[in-house]
């Protein structure tokens, strides 16, 4: 106990450092929030301020004018993130596990295939053609999931992890005890590899949550916009409209009231959304990952 104790001074210093660190992380978010509730004319005149002269919720009322769109986009994003993460972790592990096994006859070929695709891509047009014309996924929610199911990088991470932390002797032992390949994988390898599943899961969650490109390319149906794309689109729209306002006949009067900069900030806050909740959830597996192997050398 005494060995682990640190002096009061060091303790204070460490606390101070972390408090400062926390503040530098949180302040920008606070500023973004304050800007999002500032009156736009005030920003034009005074610039960004922590305590603006005049408050206004115009940005939020612009965004939520048609709140069903946002709710739908939230739904699409959550669906895609959850299903996509589960599927992609599953598929990645199913690829990584066999090529991590030295007794798998074709591991060379499959390892090469995955490595090859990491170096050479087909290019945008063939990629687009496969999904629109071969698989016919245009304007389907699967167009947001399928293109990101398997990332070679994730597969290689998993493969390495399996090789490093699942002893071949263990697999052999389970085989002797009468477990089939599937049972070995799900009952022996999977529980031993939770940290890598969590890591890849987190990667994929972020990847799916932040993706807007697939929406942009494949989706024209408003009901299937993901949240990030909706935001991206709203911002570029607001940008375009305020810059070329003179061109747009119909809505020009409304356009004049478009609260440009504040919309951006309000959207950033909306976009952070539930993804911040994902971190603590995954975090406990990382802690477990660090303790793995600490009991027996």
């Amino acid at each position: 106990m005494t060995n682990n104790e640190i002096s009061k001074f060091t303790n204070l210093l460490l606390h101070l450092i972390f408090i400062i660190l926390t503040i530098t992380c949180l302040l920008p978010i606070v500023l973004v929030f304050m800007i999002s509730i500032t009156d736009y004319d005030t920003i034009v005149l005074n610039g960004y301020q922590f305590f603006p002269e005049k408050f206004s919720l115009e940005a939020y009322s612009y965004i939520f004018k048609d709140y069903t769109v946002i709710v739908k986009a939230y739904g699409v994003s959550i669906f895609v993130t959850v299903i996509g993460t589960l599927l992609s972790v599953f598929i990645s592990s199913l690829y990584a596990y066999p090529i991590s096994r030295t007794d798998f006859k074709y591991r060379g070929i499959f390892a090469f295939l995955i490595f090859f695709t990491m170096l050479f891509g087909g290019g945008l047009v063939p990629w687009y053609m496969v999904y629109t014309q071969v698989l016919d996924l245009k304007n389907s929610v699967w167009a947001l999931i399928v293109p990101m199911l398997l990332s070679p990088f994730n597969v290689l991470i998993m493969k390495t992890y399996f090789q490093m932390s699942v002893p071949p002797a263990l697999i052999e032992a389970s085989k002797i005890d009468g477990a089939g390949e599937l049972r070995t994988f799900f009952r022996i390898v999977f529980p031993l590899s939770l940290p890598v599943f969590a890591t890849i899961g987190l990667f994929n969650t972020l990847h799916y949550w932040n993706d807007w490109f697939n929406s942009m390319i494949f989706i024209t149906d408003t009901d299937l916009y993901s949240l990030q794309y909706l935001m991206y689109k709203m911002i570029s729209q607001a940008d375009y409209l305020s810059r070329n306002g003179a061109l747009i006949q119909g809505s020009a009067t409304e356009l004049a009231k478009l609260p440009g900069e504040t919309i951006r900030m309000a959207m950033a806050l909306i976009g952070i959304g539930p993804i911040v909740l994902a971190y603590p959830f995954f975090q406990r597996y990382f802690i477990r990952g660090l303790t793995l192997g600490s009991i027996k050398g």
Partner: protein, 515 residues
């Protein structure tokens, strides 16, 4: 053992499928590509034969019903489906076609269309982004025969300069929107300020003429920036060479054509530009220009609205007075620096093309003809449904219903602008204004010249980067222009500006010789 082998095989199979689906497998993709490419190519054939059969069936007046797809920028609007329905009901008796409006929104619509074009997707009509590149690549169907056959009225009424500007290598590849000819730069001043100090804005004929006004504002309006700039709007709107034209398709590389000598030159390597930049520098040092002009993100209209600036500048059109009054929410006065310049590029501003992959090009052309000649259809397409998206105030004037769910298809995108109802805020003299504007315009001597940039594509990319890097600094007046210009020019030269100029000149000479 047999079971184990089975599961192993199954796992590998699942993986193979995963790999194919994920699209990461470059090698598996290639074999699959062959099929769609083949189908894409073969559509061009039937399209041609269908044209022939269509003319035959037309004689019996029994057009088979088809669906036409139309890709436009903006939106997507919530109510587009109900507008489609109305249009389809109306079109049934006219050309027996239904229309599917695809709105691509304002974020990189050009990229989306390029993907569609490159992958050979089947679609009918599209607003032309990157017109010259795509036309040269053969993305659009040639229209001259279709226009003669199915759009006689349009051909008769449209300004021939427009058709000339849409012609590449002897083929007409798009039907331009009928609107004002060309563009002109100018100012829109806050009327209150102009009246307060009694400025004579009509006396302004060139950029330099606003200097005394800037001085007055500087002295008497401390809270106001006499000349407000931001990262997109600087004085590069005002060219230092009146008798010239920017020819390249990119709009970003420093090559101009001198009308007098018909020679291409680097606009940043001339005494005129140095003089212009020195003037801006002088204004900056006198405190007329806001300090962060090169990076400020405030829109001009917002700056005017909030009283930070007192005028906006840039492209002006015949109805700008009203547009800017609406946007800045205060009365504005326009001063356009005449004459209006009409070049190929300004004519190509907005056009509608028929895709090479279209299965019904002749019906698409009939539709295009209608939006140029039929006010009912055109107003339906651009304004939406009466009572739902707009209210009629009198026979020809309408008022938009706010947040109606259909307002992104604008008349400047397609068709004939003069068929439109008047918006209640619009100048009632619109038709007359357009006529005057067109009468005042000066047509480029090289109309119809289109630069094929394929040979110097990589240089152009590099040049655009360099220009972007320096433009804002130069035009904001923040630094002494002379050394910066020198540095910029040496970089431009190193990046292959001469090759681009030579290529442009060669093509220009060939164009002039053919003329």
């Amino acid at each position: 053992m047999a079971i184990k082998k089975g599961t192993g095989l199954m796992l590998s199979l699942v993986l193979m499928i995963g790999l194919t689906l994920s699209g990461c497998g470059g090698n598996t993709n290639n074999t699959k590509n062959a099929a769609p490419e083949a189908t894409a190519k073969s559509t061009a054939g039937p399209a041609a034969t269908e044209t022939a059969t269509a003319t035959a069936t037309e004689k019996t007046n029994e057009l088979e019903q088809v669906e036409l797809s139309l890709y436009l920028p903006g939106g997507p609007d919530k109510d587009v489906a109900s507008v489609e329905q109305e249009i389809n009901a109306y079109l049934k008796d006219k050309i027996n076609a239904t229309i599917k409006i695809n709105q691509l929104s304002w974020d990189k619509p050009a990229d989306k269309v390029n993907l569609m074009i490159q992958s050979g997707e089947v679609f009918d009509m599209v607003y032309t982004w990157n017109f010259m590149t795509n036309a040269a690549k053969g993305a659009y169907a040639p229209l001259e025969d279709l226009l003669d056959k199915y759009a006689k009225e349009t051909k008769a009424q449209i300004n021939p300069a427009y058709l000339q500007a849409a012609t590449v290598n002897g083929h007409l590849y798009a039907v331009p929107t009928e609107k004002e000819l060309g563009q002109s730069v100018g100012f829109a001043f806050d009327k209150a300020i102009v009246d307060k100090y009694g400025f004579d804005v009509n006396s302004i004929t060139k950029l330099e003429d606003i200097e005394p006004m800037l001085k007055v504002i500087k002295e008497k309006e401390p809270g106001m920036s006499p000349l407000f700039m931001n990262h997109t709007d600087s004085l590069n709107w005002f060219t230092a060479y009146p008798e010239s034209e920017d020819l390249d398709g990119s709009n970003e590389i420093p090559t101009l054509l001198d009308y007098k000598t018909m020679k291409i030159f680097n606009e940043y390597d001339t005494p005129e530009i140095l003089e212009r930049l020195k003037l801006i520098r002088k204004w900056y040092e006198a405190g007329y220009i806001n300090k962060n002009g090169a990076t400020d993100k405030t829109e001009l209209k917002d700056a005017v609205k909030s009283g930070k600036a007192w005028f906006v500048y840039g492209n002006m059109n015949p109805t700008s007075t009203n547009d800017w009054t609406r946007l800045a929410e205060k009365p504005m006065i326009i001063k356009t620096l005449l004459p209006v310049q009409v070049g190929t590029k300004s004519l190509q501003g907005s056009m509608l093309a028929i895709s090479r992959t279209s299965k019904n090009p002749e019906r698409a052309m009939m539709f295009i003809n209608l939006i140029h000649t039929d006010p009912v259809l055109y107003n339906l397409l651009t304004f939406g449904i009466e009572g739902k998206h707009y209210k009629k105030l009198d026979a020809n004037t309408v008022e938009f219903i706010p947040d109606s769910g259909y307002n992104s298809v604008s008349s400047w995108m397609i068709g004939n602008v003069l068929l439109n109802y008047l918006n209640k805020d619009e100048d009632p003299r619109r038709v007359q204004l357009y006529k005057d504007w067109n009468a005042n315009s000066k047509t480029s001597p090289v109309i119809g010249f289109v630069f094929d940039s394929t040979k110097v594509q990589s240089q152009i990319g590099a040049l655009i980067n360099i220009t972007k890097q320096y433009k804002n600094t130069l035009y904001s007046g923040e630094k002494d222009p002379e050394p910066i210009l020198k540095e910029m020019n040496s970089k431009l030269k190193a990046a292959g500006l001469d090759a681009v100029i030579n290529e442009l000149q060669t093509q220009m000479d060939a164009f002039l010789a053919a003329k």
